[in-house]
């Protein structure tokens, strides 16, 4: 190599920019984990020690599997998938909070195991991207497997995630709907000796359903903070919440029931409110263009609503997984007109 060639090497130009905001993925994950921890704390206060065990089981399972894979990758000299445990920690926490409190701990551990191994590590490795929300996909997979237990004599004792009683509810009529609300009327503030009506307990103090949805209002507040602070895909949140509210009002008007109770049920049950803020905004499996995000949110609300009415077990996560599958297509529509193309602004 002559001197000029050496110079040429030294002069190699590196592409800009050379300044960085400094807000890394780790920071995003840690802050999300912090927000989830607030919800987890409230859930444990409301639902008791079982909620704590579910969360710890999910977190522990995920972290054990992550550490094993991480150590193996290091030992073999493979490319490390997750340098830090923050992303698996968030996944574990989401699994914990998206489990029904009536579920068994083994099932929670199973969902967490499938989440981290199959849908977080496996999906990323084989598809170079996560098309499906890991926790939702793991739940759907396990749901399919466990649905077989519906045919068993005593499904709950064999580890059934979803109570078969759900299948008997009739949410199409006001009577059926009111009747199915009994489970929420049990909710109490034990230390104050207060019994809340269903509307209020659905919003503030649920002892039934998803752990993460124990206090729907808190999820709404913490989720809104996250959406603003960490820039979650807020269009999905806003469009699904508005759509679900409108659908609830519509069914209440059609069936002649209590509008507030319908909103409280359809919007504030954990399987919707928690999912909307912390699962449906999972970045990898949701669309990029703004209008596509609106479309995603509206469709998610409609699908969840329909599946809820038909008592389909795990309706909201099935809806989410279906929309995750549709995301690559949604990514191709809904583009904003760029600068220079907006006729109203002078572009062509």
């Amino acid at each position: 190599m002559n001197t000029d060639e050496v110079k040429f090497k030294e002069y190699q130009v590196v592409q800009p920019p050379h300044l960085y905001m400094g807000f890394t993925k780790d920071e995003l994950m840690l802050k999300t984990f912090f927000l989830l921890s607030i919800i987890a704390f409230a859930s444990v206060v409301i639902m008791g020690v079982n909620a704590f065990i579910h969360i710890i089981t999910a977190l522990g399972t995920v972290l054990i599997v992550h550490n094993l894979i991480h150590s193996y990758q290091k030992w073999k000299g493979y490319r490390i998938t997750y340098e830090s445990p923050t992303s698996p920690m968030v996944a574990g926490m989401i699994v914990g909070l998206s489990m029904p409190i009536a579920s068994t701990f083994e099932v929670t551990a199973g969902v967490a195991f499938i989440t981290i191994l199959v849908f977080k590590y496996g999906q990323g490795k084989y598809f170079q991207r996560k098309y499906l929300n890991p926790a939702a996909a793991a739940k759907v997979l396990l749901l399919l497997l466990l649905s077989i237990m519906l045919f068993f004599e005593n499904p709950l004792s064999t580890g059934m995630i979803f109570h078969p009683h759900h299948l008997e509810l009739n949410l199409f009529t006001n009577e059926g709907f009111i009747e199915s609300m009994w489970i929420f009327q049990r909710a109490v503030l034990p230390f104050l000796g207060i019994r809340l009506p269903a509307t209020q307990s659905l919003m503030f103090w649920q002892t039934h359903g998803w752990i993460g949805g124990a206090c729907g209002i808190l999820v709404l507040i913490v989720g809104a903070i996250g959406a603003y602070w960490l820039r979650y895909k807020w269009r999905i949140i806003v469009s699904s919440l508005i759509s679900m509210t409108l659908l609830s009002i519509t069914i209440a008007l059609l069936t002649g029931g209590d509008i507030l109770l319908r909103i409280a049920f359809h919007v504030f049950t954990g399987s919707f409110i928690f999912m909307v803020f912390f699962m449906a905004t999972e970045p990898q499996s949701t669309p990029m263009p703004g209008k596509s995000q609106y479309l995603f949110g509206i469709s998610l609300a409609i699908l969840t609503f329909i599946l809820q009415l038909f008592n389909v077990l795990g309706g909201s996560i099935i809806a989410l997984v279906l929309l995750n599958i549709a995301t690559p297509f949604l990514d191709k529509v809904g583009f904003k007109k760029p600068y220079g193309h907006r006729e109203s602004k002078g572009g062509k």
Partner: protein, 443 residues
């Protein structure tokens, strides 16, 4: 490189993202210091957008300060000449890798004998000469856009459309540059003279001075502008608005259609430093051989320097009492858009509005990026509303149709998408690559 955090007065971008300007803040109060020429000056024969100039000197030739050493090619309407920045002797003409193109290009090495007097051209009285003669003077003086684009100024002064509006860009949006502000403070009269010359040549009815200064920050300069009927547009603190296309939108609320240029909407934008160079070329007969720039390193903070083109970076470092051994790499010009080089013998070009020096300890955050998490931050921040992440995916697959649909050609290469990426992905190479792919396909 530098990972900065929030502070009280940052540039605000779309989606509430902020661009840190702490480097700039350390420089705004620092007056220009003149850097004497180096023993050996390195003059690339192409310091503009266009073809390389022809060398008109031979090794061993003596040269005077301001003397032409690179001549424009006959019939080439774009190129501008290159002048010697010192009195001295030509040592050699050799190929070196150009900091902007990365390609090997001719450079003239001059041994300095003295600083010399930059007066190779005779002063002109603008009232006694035609517009064409003024434009010719601008070209002869080797003037290019000094904001960083190095587009030949004489071309912008001869639009084939009638213009109504002249915008002077003193927005100084780059977070490491403060030299435009110093021009307002220290060279106000010359700057205003230059603006009036441009307006005279272009025959425009409205002149707007776009600045990020606040009322009362540069009172004398503002007064001078008002006396000369130049409107001051105080632009919101924002980085991307510094781009010509977006500045026109910000000032006049006119969107330049895709593939078109400011003259297509009756506007032309010139940089404040270019106005100063035009004033000096006409009134003083000075060729463009020096410019103001902002140097930044963690050790020195921001320093405004007046430097001759061709001065190697290591000479600037030793002038500031440092050595090249202390640094690993340097950004030339804008920290968001300029190239990064590692050779300190590389010279200052006409377009070099700044030098930012990094030590080995100041690690490059874009090394070892993580996989994209599709957070959409890059979409949110993009000032021209395109989808950098989707463009990256399309470019990786070589999907020209998708690149078209995603409007990659409208990217202004501002670098904001990479700046905000939590996975520290440098998207610029994909955006530049996507544009190139479309160009090649067309050809």
């Amino acid at each position: 490189m530098v990972a900065h955090r929030k502070n009280d007065y940052n540039f605000k971008e779309r989606g509430r993202f902020e661009v840190d300007i702490s480097m700039k803040k350390t420089a705004v109060g620092d007056p220009f210091t003149i850097v004497p020429p180096a023993e050996k000056m390195v003059l690339f024969l192409r310091q503009h957008v266009g073809r390389e100039t022809k060398p008109i000197v031979q090794p061993g030739d003596p040269v005077k300060c301001g003397q032409k050493i690179g001549e424009i090619n006959e019939g080439d309407p774009w190129s501008v000449p290159v002048h010697s920045p010192v009195d001295g002797k030509i040592v050699t003409i050799k190929k070196l890798s150009h900091p902007l193109s990365g390609e090997e290009e001719n450079a003239v090495i001059i041994e300095t004998t003295s600083e010399g007097q930059n007066s190779s051209l005779s002063p002109l009285n603008p009232n006694d000469v035609s517009k064409e003669q003024l434009v010719e003077r601008v070209r002869e003086a080797g003037i290019v856009g000094l904001g960083g684009a190095s587009f030949p100024t004489h071309v912008k002064l001869t639009p084939n459309k009638k213009l109504s509006h002249l915008i002077i860009n003193a927005k100084e949006s780059d977070s490491n540059i403060a030299c435009d502000f110093r021009l307002m403070v220290e060279k106000s009269r010359e700057v205003v003279n230059g603006i009036l010359l441009i307006a005279k040549i272009l025959d425009v009815t409205h002149i707007t001075f776009a600045s990020r200064t606040k009322e009362g920050q540069t009172p004398e300069f503002d007064e001078l502008l008002r006396e000369n009927n130049i409107t001051i547009a105080r632009i919101r603190p924002n980085y991307s608005v510094g781009s010509e296309r977006l500045l026109v939108k910000e000032v006049l609320n006119k969107e330049i259609p895709s593939g078109k240029f400011p003259p297509d909407v009756g506007v032309v934008v010139h940089n404040i430093a270019t106005a100063l160079a035009i004033s000096r070329a006409v009134y003083n007969g000075e060729a463009l051989i020096s410019r103001g720039l902002t140097f930044y390193s963690k050790k020195t903070g921001g320093k405004n320097l007046w430097v001759r083109m061709g001065t190697p970076i290591n000479h600037v470092l030793s002038f500031l009492g440092m050595s090249s051994g202390e640094f690993e790499r340097y950004v030339l010009g804008s920290i968001m858009m300029g190239p990064l080089v590692s050779d300190p013998s590389l010279p200052i070009l006409k377009a070099t509005s700044g030098i930012t020096a990094f030590t080995r300890e100041e690690r490059d955050p874009y090394v070892n990026p993580l996989p994209c998490i599709r957070c959409a931050y890059c979409n949110i921040v993009c000032p021209v509303f395109i989808y950098p992440q989707l463009i990256m995916e399309a470019e990786k697959k070589g999907n020209v149709k998708a690149l078209h649909k995603l409007h990659v050609v409208d990217c202004i290469e501002c670098g904001l998408c990479s700046y905000v990426c939590p996975s520290r992905i440098k998207l610029t190479p994909y955006l530049v690559g996507g544009k190139r792919r479309i160009r090649e396909k067309k050809e």
